[in-house]
Amino acid sequence: MRWNRGCPGRTILQFLFLALTQAQVFAQTNQLVYRKEYAMGTVFEIAAYSSSPSLASHAIDKAFVEVIRLDHIMSDYDPSSDLSRINRTAHYRAELVPADLYRVIQQSLAYSKLSNGKFDITVGPLSRLWKKETRGGSSPSAVQLKELLNCIGWQKVVLVPPDRVEFRSPCMALDLGAIGKGYAVDRAVTVLRSFGVKNALISAGGSTIYGMGSPPGLPAWVVHLRDPSKKLSPAVRLNGNSVSTSEQTRNPRPERTPFGHIIDPVKGIPITSPYSVSVVADSATESDALSTTLLLMGPAEGKAVLQGLPNIAAVWISSREKSEYISNGPRISMNHLTDTGH
């Protein structure tokens, strides 16, 4: 009840009492600071434990400033972003780009190589085409798809050290949707560390989550993973590492296929996959890029790619309780029902 709060005198006493008891408690322990900010088309959230909440709050504000700065560089919605600029002008012309964009493209190309082209940031023209179709446009014709497939290809992106990028295609456009948020999370972690924050959880829209240190009294941050089967209860403990989850967009009209935001760069159409894929890795950039890659590859091919990579774990889970798992270090627990809370 709004008007049932007693007289203000009592409220102030309660407030003072709470403040005093909290001060006593927090003098001994860390205090939780939570903030959220809209960026990159989703909500970034940071929860930190710190003995200096005001410092942590300031650090989080600075981390968000960094995320928004990166959004202004890597956004494909904002026509004034650096990404949009090179998408307009870098065809057969080496364009100057900010260091962050150069680094993200460089890392993206490494994942393209690793996945033999399954991970490919050059799918921009195809992403646009299918987005248009989702909004009610007509389905792309085979001719259209063939034309656009000729535009793309990660080998057609040329990095000119130290800071230039060129497209060897007349119609290429980059889409950093499968790696940009991960990179932004890693940058936020760096900013938080620079302010002395040691224990924090950073989430980019729930799909990429990094755990720094741990919450008070616990060895790690427990993250429950997306479980389409609703029976496996997968969970992971993060302490100095990250988890990302990828899944194709749910099709509200199953009669209309293919559908979704994850495009197969080889076929040029949205993939159809029964799986939700979660990947644990040392950095958010890596987990973000690999989760999309492994969704595109499927379990058999994906496991083969991960064989050589240290400190990675991945799980594929379908709605029919089918799951595939691989780990080169981090553990993803299943049926994790009793010891995940804190």
Partner: protein, 476 residues
Amino acid sequence: MRSQRLIVLSSLLLIAAAPAWGRVFLEWTEPAIPPPTRIGVRELVVSWTPGNVRLMTTAKSLGYSVFAGVRAADAATAANAAASSGLAGIIVESESGTPGSNSVRELLERLRRSYPRLAILELSSQGKQPQIRGNLVVSRDGVLVVSSPTEQPWIDSNVALARFVSALQPNKPPLFSFSWDLIDPLERQVGPRAADYALAVAEAGAMRADLILPVHPNLQKALADGNQAAWREWERVKTYLQFYSAGKLPAVRPCADIAVVADDYGEAYEAMNLMARHNILFTVFPPDEVTPQRMARLQMAVVFSRPDEQGLRTLQAFADQGGTVVLVQVQGHFPWETLPSIISDSGRTYTVGRGRVVELAEPIADPETFAEMVRNLMSSRGSLVRLWNALTILAFAFREPHTDRMELELVNYAEQAQSVQVRVKGLFSEVRYETPEHGNYPAIRPEHNDGYTEFVLPDLQIGGRVYLTSEAENTR
């Protein structure tokens, strides 16, 4: 000195321009309060407790219109005391806080008859702090985290509440309030930011609703103490208070594509909330008001409560002329039952003349799918307003009766500047845009496309207003 005079003058103008809609009442709890000329709001709500008598007296002497906030159980006593002590009115909250409680409305009617000079208002306290919600669940025990594919931002809005309350009292603006959702101890101590207050004012103003704005106790103290930083923050809020007290088309009426026919708030809430989230413009009315007049200009009716026979005939005629009627688990026999139909997993679809009637056999289990279905059913005729690049923005449309003038209100829950692409049904030659931060922009050049007007609005920080005038209107 001159600038001080200007500030005082503009504040006086602000509080003198009390509009018939979009009023903001400040909720005050601390003993000291600055004068209304500085605060920029004249209406004050103080909880009806013995300890607040002095605050009410002080506020009244400073020039505030003081309203006592009371529970329904105390309303009669409070009304008597308020009338004799010269308060402006009482604001009554029902025991459940649920809109539409008949017993409260009857009580208020009785009190209005007994105290005709006292404003007696009903509060819907089930409002939420307008904001973008995150995915982490932060509680006293820690942080619950569940990974997912990237979630689109979820908006906590009061659209469903305001629309439902409007249906109950069509000639009065809805009045609602909320509590701040302050999660961590530091935030609880510091209170909301100016942008949060501004967003709350913008949302209520954009919906033409009245709002009781709770002012955090520490901000109250700081303002009363003359704290410069606090006043700088409050000046930002005042910009919004001023903007939303100065709509230029006061006679406008809300536009909608869809009618929600319901008399139970809880039953229709999820669907209304999702439609609001998807920028589907809807109006709500009770089942006994399903008339051809109410259904005019609408594309669809989503029916949660069964209308009487006359209402059912109106729905059939509406479908016959090309409209879509969706019945959500409404029981009984219907006039279209003899017509051909198709059975699917979700229910039965009848072809009725140029339109259709969809009978859903189950309650709405997945509101997201339901909102998507509504959008798909609407797509053939196109919605009145569509936004692009606007995951965090809600739009509200109004029309000036007997003219081709429209007004759009936009609210950006992300609280950061964004350009937004807008498409409005109809051909408008003049598009004017204003925001609290920038005032009027130069005229925006619209493009006409297949019966629609399209334009891009720059820098929508939190709130913005667009005036649309048709070619015909301009030459009148």
